[in-house]
Amino acid sequence: MNFDYSEDEKVLKETLRRLLASRNGRRRVLDGGESFDRPLWAALAESGWLAAGLPEAFGGQDLGPVALCAIAEELGFALAAVPFLGTTIGAVAVTLAGSESQRHDLLPALGRGEVIAALAIDDEPQVAFTNGRLHGRLPAVTDGATAQIALVSARGDSGTGLCIVALDAPGVRRQARTSIDPTRPVSSLEFDHVPAEPLGRPGDGLIERLRDQAAVLAAFEQLGGADAALAMTRDYALARHAFGRPIGRFQAVKHKLADIYIGNELARANAYYAAWALAQGGPELPLAAATARVSATEAFDRAAREAIQIHGGISITWEHDCQLYYRRARHLAVTLGPPAGWRRRLVAALAVQHAA
């Protein structure tokens, strides 16, 4: 038994944390002009981080899901403004269910960061896929305007299935919208009978598998963000004085920080377990993934919200970093569908487990 990252994974995290500390352009993205942190994305690609999970045959390092979780955690800690989640899940999808030619065409390009994938997986899809063509409108897709391809769940003749669509194809209309977190852009996607290719078959569990993996990666991003918010706020509580003492000496501030700590530790424990379940690929995954997701959403929400309250006035200025956490917490909470859906999935998985 070992409930922690391996030594290798710890070294990997440390390395990535240093890279992110030196190359982080999130503030530039927030202040406008860019849709994501392109220099950082290029740097990540160059150092091989985007190919970490790919098979070696396609230029990757085949590091496995736990390493991807470690990367997600660090990107979350840095609040990096990059399309990692969709692109990673895109690569996983193609690896798991792509044809030979799809693998050859897409995996190396995804690993080099040249192709960005957007993710639009929905329980009740608003788009249809018939006769090889995608039709319908998605009102808000993360990275929809910058991605080259999208993974879309769509209604078909034999049920809901996944398909992959090139976003530069004729008949695709995309419109950037104002994101609640401008460091993670969102846009509408409209498909007017656009040619697309199926991935897997309706009912084969691929959508559920990808959604669960996306949830685990998102949980690690949330965990990283929550840890960073706690660290920043703790430092502030030691430095800031009021009424003749550091505010961190007031029990109300102490208990708020302790509550954030507790939430983060719970989220960490649940995220680690989900990473293990992901690597195992066993029947624990649905419950573990939903639990990690619910736990991490609660933790990041609390950390981002109370970080502001503890910082006081300074934190609601545009220049202060608190808003980055507050925005990112909300983005990550809703990006894979309403949080209520994850809570329902958790209870459904629990009911299955208890019935067994």
Binding site: P139, A140, V141, T142, R177, T178, S179, I180, D181, V186, S188, H241, A242, F243, G244, R245, F250, A252, V253, D301, R305, I308, Q309, G312, G313, I314, S315, I316, T317, W318, E319, C322, Q323, Y326, R327, R330, H331, A333, V334, T335, G337, P338, P339, A340, G341
Partner: protein
């Protein structure tokens, strides 16, 4: 118990309603009006009200007031809130807070000079207390005022000043004796905001708007006649001002915005009354509404107490301690309810847009006028009689304590 008007109250309310229906429409800004235009309209509207005797309700006529009752004022404000007339919160500070404070602490001539123009909308006010190192702990300010002959020379920086870019006058708190304990070396002044030595910089907030400012003082010279209260007696001015400010908070605008309507409509849009079967929606909305309604009843009770000449009880801060936090939670709940659609700031759906806007403004409401935590300490100590926490900063010279 009677939550309704007496016959006399009802008569006055009807009179006000008629007058508002006739006059207010001339002072409604167009949707694309910029701030300058809205300021112009508010000033004109205040003048119109003052001319008609609907301003300075409790001020004597010699100060330009109506010489009326607080109850009349309340009824007028309630009715005014129902019509879409130009409104900028900062214009309320002078009539509701500054003038009452000046009547306690300032020389009668100065009051006479400032009162009438203030209620006529000619003098707009801002409050220059908070500083980067003095938020909840106002007495920790560092802005210096140094005596120089018959003048005072002011240097320092203020922050979180609402409306400083509009204001004609400011109420300034400065440190006049750093060798005294922190509360005992402060002096208050009124400052003409367009003086040389005053620089106002807007402070962009996370909402993207700039409702607050930083204000820098560089060798600003003020004549001693603009000093309020005694030298080193500024803390008493602060206490009076903040207690009046607490009353001003009774105007429901500053406690937080009401999300009951937007949430109900957002939910209804996704399918009739199906939301009645959404137990979480009902639980969250019911609890939220119970707080909003309770705070509203408390506000009305306090207003009535005031109107009858009584002192408001400590319940005044119940709203402060609950509404803003709930407004934030409900905004998050609303965004989550919308799911991925909640991620994009919605230009079409006014309800989702209002919810999203509250998401960004709620953090400020949770701090404005003292944090929730400070307010709870006050309730615990003043209402419940619990002992204060030990404090090490009160009795030491400011320049040898935390301020040194």
């Amino acid at each position: 118990m009677d939550f309704e008007d007496s016959p006399a109250e009802a008569r006055f309310r009807a009179e006000v309603r008629d007058w508002l229906a006739a006059e207010a429409p001339r002072f409604v800004p167009t949707p694309d009006a910029d701030e300058a235009e809205r300021v112009r309209l508010v000033r004109a509207w205040m003048r119109c009200k003052a001319d008609a005797g609907y301003a300075g309700f409790t001020l004597p006529p010699e100060l330009g007031g109506r010489g009326g009752t607080a109850l009349e004022e309340i009824i007028f404000l309630e009715e005014q809130a129902k019509v879409p007339v130009a409104h900028i919160e900062t214009f309320n500070l002078g009539p509701s807070t500054i003038i009452p404070m000046l009547r306690v602490h300032a020389a009668p001539e100065l009051v006479a000079e400032l009162a009438a123009p203030t209620i006529r909308g000619e003098f707009c006010w801002c409050q220059l207390f908070s500083e980067p190192d003095a938020g909840s702990d106002v007495a920790a300010i560092r802005t210096r005022a140094v005596r120089d002959g018959d003048d005072w020379v002011i240097n320092g920086q203020k922050v979180w000043t609402s409306g400083a870019h509009i204001a004609d006058w400011g109420l300034l708190l400065a440190r006049t004796d750093p060798a005294r304990p922190k509360h005992q070396g402060l002096t208050a002044f009124v400052v003409p905001m367009r003086s040389v030595g005053v620089e106002v910089r807007p402070l962009k907030q996370i909402s993207g708007r700039s409702e607050f400012n930083e204000v820098f003082f560089t060798d600003l010279r003020l004549p001693d006649r603009l000093r309020i209260g005694e030298v080193n007696g500024g803390w008493r001015v602060v206490v009076t001002t903040l207690s009046n400010e607490r009353l001003a908070l009774l105007s429901d605008r500053t406690v937080g915005r009401n999300l009951v309507g937007p949430l109900l409509r957002l939910a209804a849009r996704s399918g009739g009354t199906a939301f009645l079967d959404d137990t979480e929606f009902c639980a969250r909305l019911a609890s939220y509404y119970a707080t909003v309604a309770g705070v509203d009843h408390i506000r009305k009770r306090l207003i009535t107490t005031l109107a009858k000449g009584g002192a408001p009880g400590p319940e005044a801060t119940v709203g402060k301690m609950t509404i803003a936090r709930l407004m934030q939670e409900m905004a998050i709940f609303g965004i989550d309810l919308a799911g991925a659609a909640g991620e994009a700031i919605d230009p079409v759906d006014p309800d989702l847009a209002e919810i999203q806007d509250c998401f960004f403004t709620a953090p400020g409401y949770r701090m404005g006028g003292g944090t929730e935590e400070i307010a709870k300490n006050v309730v615990a100590e003043r209402v419940l009689g619990l002992p204060p926490e030990p404090r090490a900063d009160k009795d030491v010279p400011f320049n040898r304590g935390a301020g040194g």
